[in-house]
Amino acid sequence: MKKLINQPENSLNEMLIGMAKAYPDYLTRLDNTNVLVRKNLTEQKVAVVSGGGSGHEPTHAGYIGQGMLDAAVAGDIFTSPTPDQIYEAIKAVDRGKGVLLVVKNYSGDVMNFDMAKEMAEMEGIAVEQVIVNDDVAVEDSTFTTGRRGIAGTVLIHKIAGAAAERGWDLQKVKETAEKAIKSIHSMGMALSPCIVPSAGKPNFTLAEDEVEIGTGIHGEPGTHREKIKSADEITQELFDKIQADAPIQSGDDVALMVNGMGATPLMELYIVNNKAHDLLVSLGAHIHRTFVGEFMTSIEMAGMSLTVLKLDDQLKSLLDDAADTPALKVIKK
């Protein structure tokens, strides 16, 4: 394992301190917790809180700021945070207008956030929760855990955050986020594995000419492995899977995200973006906004995911609202 770390067990703590030092205008660490909280909280708005395992940086704390999150709760690497931590975050950011929790659909996250919600409700805080499940690689079923939440979650932060910043009430912020969740679909792939520092070795192996299609953001197995193909072919394959699930119609407005998993260079993401644009345009879609970069990573895994979010006028205008966070800034024109 070759990493720029000190003791593996200190990585999370040192990372959080390093973030707080990097962005003193944006965020501050809540004493004795792994919670980062927005500086200068906007009074009189619904607070938006997210969180989950670490190792997905800049997710989640990178999205703290105007128009996105008010707090982010960091679990250990690839491990959901615990209810007490989430509860501290909720208490710290509630301004009497209630708190929306944006949770990725993993059993662990869902249950820990559930418990925190119960704890906060016992204190009289209004809490609502939305569960992001954008990964079309996993079968959708109400009898199982259902689909995972992956990179699309960042756009849900954007939309929920903008809705809250507009002063909408908790119910409306929640409904808007849920509408966006229904319209967002993602699919990822990996070229190489990642190493959790405390584990010290890769979480899976791939041959030199092999890729895994449908991988999650923790190196979870995908739908299958195959010989590596061209960027265009791989992009087409992921796109087809998304399209099979949520067909794009001619005239649809969409946002497109090409997300890097950690080790894949931007150059390759732009090459993928080139093809993804062509595919959307050939279906008659109008691409309202494109996001290319590392938004939700998997430590140093190589690979990428595509996210397509169908937009109505409301979602378009929420995406266009100003955002000012360390990792995503939208400057309103």
Partner: protein
């Protein structure tokens, strides 16, 4: 069957057994999950030990409550809220009893299983910790109804939990992270069921050795 001190001893032993099996549990989770179950459980139970060391418990219920809080706050992942809820439900089932007998033991296992079902929206046969815990308390109920003594009941629970955990290899996961694998989860033992069997086994062993 047991007073407060013995319960503390039993939980301490369970924590030690989890620590010894950290690597094994992590490997099980590596095959069909994200490879952290051993790490999560070991972290959580090290805090249980700390809680046990601090002492000052009023009742067995208090002991389970504080241990459960330690699990909730330190395991993380899926197993944290589940084992935490299990311990908290056990605590609630005990009310203000000052010592517990084998009937009590079986009813707290049952209460724990109910708590897990509620928290995990899960049931038997979905390849989770429930597939060790449910057969375990059922075996305990049978042993009780046959008039078996405490040691026999504890051993019946241990054996059924072990068999239940092993048998999860034949199940397709429907809940938790391994459910994303669908059919590919077949042939692997569920890590949460394995840790459940270890805990129930450690408790039986502790009382057998008294």
């Amino acid at each position: 069957m047991a007073e407060l001190n013995q319960l503390i001893g039993a939980l301490n032993h369970a924590a030690d057994v989890i620590e010894e099996n950290k690597q094994h549990l992590t490997e099980l989770d590596g095959a069909i999950g994200d490879g952290d179950h051993g790490i999560n459980m070991s972290r959580g139970f090290s805090f249980v030990k700390k809680t046990l060391d601090e002492g000052g418990f009023q009742t067995p219920a208090d002991l389970f409550k504080k241990s459960g809080m330690a699990l909730v706050a330190h395991v993380g992942g899926a197993s944290g809220p589940l084992f935490g809820t299990a311990f908290l439900r056990a605590s609630m089932a005990l009310k203000d009893k000052t010592e517990i007998n084998s009937e009590d033991y079986i009813s707290i296992l049952k209460a724990a299983a109910e708590g897990i079902k509620m928290r995990g929206k899960s049931q038997a046969g979905e390849k989770t910790m429930l597939d060790a815990l449910i057969p375990a308390y059922e075996a305990g109920e049978t042993a009780l109804s046959q008039g078996k003594d405490t040691q026999e009941v504890l051993q019946a629970v241990k054996a059924a939990a072990r068999t239940g955990a092993t048998d999860t290899e034949k199940l397709v996961a429907k809940k938790g992270r391994s459910s994303y694998l669908g059919e590919r989860s077949l042939g692997h033992q569920d890590p949460g069921a394995a840790s459940t069997a270890l805990i129930l086994g450690a408790i039986a062993d502790y009382f057998a050795a008294l």
